[in-house]
């Protein structure tokens, strides 16, 4: 899933400062699962913002709605009375926020979260990045452990000199992906794979303005 973290109230307060009628929209998929942008978090954020504005003596009207997915236009259509508001705060990932922005081009759409990564929910409230969406998957070469996402330097040919007792040079709380990969390949009896030089990556596939067009699948 896509993992996001809530923006600080202070930042949301600042970006909504000039509006008195705000619609806060949650997303029922990824940001609900990572406890950042579901119905409950919309309610918490809206309540906090109302309180903050009340303290300043400037009331604000905040509508609360949560739809199943903000990255799907058919669900965005379910939003009600959008034009009664001056701005929308979206608690979806960056794609969801832009889904709302595209559907309501005349409205300011503001991000209520910072989108972080594609990853796992390891345990309650703890998430880790697993995939950089680099567009050129090599997990078959690395024992199912991604060095692009999980090695601090995205190395392709083994650990750097900073690896320390299986931990990363940028923090002893982080696993060295290449130690994990080595152990995994060893377990699978495939250290031969580890010794193969992996060529420099084609970063054109990870570049900006990417799209996928299934209409061209016959090419």
């Amino acid at each position: 899933m896509i993992v996001a973290e809530p923006k600080k109230l202070e930042e949301i307060k600042q970006m909504t400062d000039k509006f008195d009628r705000i619609l806060m929209v949650g997303c029922g998929t990824c940001t609900t699962v990572c406890l950042t942008g579901g119905e409950r978090e919309v309610n918490l954020m809206a309540t906090a913002l109302r309180l903050a504005r009340k303290v300043e003596g400037r009331d604000v009207e905040i509508g609360e709605q949560t739809i199943l997915r903000q990255c799907d236009f058919e669900y965005i259509d379910e939003l009600k009375d959008v034009h009664n508001y001056q701005a929308i705060v979206s608690l979806a990932c960056g794609a969801g926020i832009q889904g709302i922005a595209r559907k309501f081009p005349e409205m300011p759409v503001l991000p209520g979260v910072n989108t972080k990564f594609i990853g796992f929910n390891e345990e309650f409230g703890y998430y880790t990045e697993q995939c950089k969406a680099c567009g050129d998957c090599i997990l078959h070469l690395t024992g199912g452990i991604c060095p692009i996402a999980r090695c601090a330097k995205g190395l392709l040919n083994g650990p750097c000199g900073g690896t320390n007792n299986g931990k990363c040079e940028i923090g002893s709380d982080k696993d060295c992906a290449w130690t994990l990969i080595y152990n995994q390949l060893e377990r699978q009896g495939n250290l031969k794979q580890f010794k193969e030089i992996i060529a420099a990556k084609d970063f054109a596939k990870a570049g900006n303005i990417r799209s996928m067009d299934l209409r061209k699948a016959g090419d």
């Binding site: 601090a152 330097k153 995205g154 190395l155 392709l156 040919n157 083994g158 650990p159 750097c160 000199g161 900073g162 690896t163 320390n164 007792n165 299986g166 040079e169 940028i170 290449w178 130690t179 080595y182 250290l191 580890f194 010794k195 030089i197 060529a199 420099a200 990556k201 970063f203």
Partner: protein
């Protein structure tokens, strides 16, 4: 005699290193270089060492050439993409720089510009392949060069890395990718180093053991705590702690280590970290 030639002849080769300063005042660096001239075969020039921004390694390597000292141009993959790396390599070649040490580089978050975007478009193994390609007359994209390079490329290895096996496998990859010499991370555990050499010697690639000058017991403890792949044994720390002149003791220890390594590997690489003017004393202590 040049670095490559000295290694080929089987001489016990001494290299040391110079860290480019942060700022345009190079007087102290020049003083250090001059103190080492004639005492070492070549001097490494570090590349934004520890991810701390300093004068470019290319500029300082050229200054060394002008001062009559052979540089080993260190190149990390942290700050430049494949265009920048290759273009700097071609620049180095036309400036007369022969030796390149290919490194991945410390992560940006360890340095003094923590918000920088780390590049790592390539890494050490791939950079060695790129150098090999330039030597053959083509760039990474396969385009033909008008005039090829003639680099003597090397790499690093950490004989005391933990775990060691992945490190050794990477060492083998570096050889396959074109590394013609190695300089190692600091060596303190001679037994481990012997074990490493036993396995490495079949590749017939010259290895220069890293000698890191210990200036105090505190520094040794710091290295143990914060620097990956370095483990200073307790006996050495005690020796430094018991000494009234820890720097002199550190020089004595480094000299002793060099004597112990003399018949084990192709040479030593002395890292004095800011005390480059002490390298001649270390060599004297080693009986060289």
């Amino acid at each position: 005699m040049g670095f490559k030639e000295a290694l080929a002849k089987g001489e016990f080769v001494i290299t040391a290193e110079v860290g480019p300063p942060k700022g345009t005042d190079i007087s102290e660096m020049v003083h250090h270089v001059e103190a080492l001239k004639g005492k070492v075969t070549a001097l490494n020039v570090t590349d934004n060492q520890s991810a701390v921004m300093r004068i470019s390694t290319l500029a300082v390597s050229k200054i060394l050439l002008d001062l009559g000292v052979e540089p080993i141009y260190q190149m990390t993959c942290r700050d430049r993409n494949r265009l920048g790396l290759q273009s700097d390599l071609l620049g180095a070649a036309v400036l007369g720089i022969k030796n390149v040490l290919a490194l991945t580089g410390d992560h940006t978050t360890l340095g003094d510009h923590k918000s920088a975007k780390p590049v790592f478009d390539l890494e050490s193994v791939q950079l060695l392949q790129v150098i090999q390609g330039l030597n053959e007359g083509h760039d990474m994209a396969g385009n033909e060069l008008k005039g090829k390079t003639d680099f003597f490329a090397g790499a690093i290895v950490t004989p005391e890395a933990n775990p060691f096996e992945p490190q050794f496998a990477k060492f083998e990859k570096k050889i396959e990718a074109g590394a013609k010499f190695f300089q190692t991370q600091a060596v303190y555990d001679i037994k481990k180093f012997h074990a490493f050499m036993d396995r490495a010697s079949k590749y017939n690639v010259p290895i220069l053991a890293g000698i890191l000058l210990l200036k105090s017991a505190g520094m040794a403890r710091f290295l143990n705590k914060f620097v990956a792949g370095i483990s200073v044994p307790d006996e050495l720390i005690q020796e430094l702690a018991n000494s009234e002149k820890p720097l002199a003791k550190g020089i004595e220890i480094a000299g002793r280590q060099i004597r112990e390594l003399r018949n084990v590997c192709a040479g030593v690489h002395i890292m004095a970290i800011g005390a480059e003017d002490k390298v001649p004393d270390i060599l004297a202590a080693a009986g060289i």
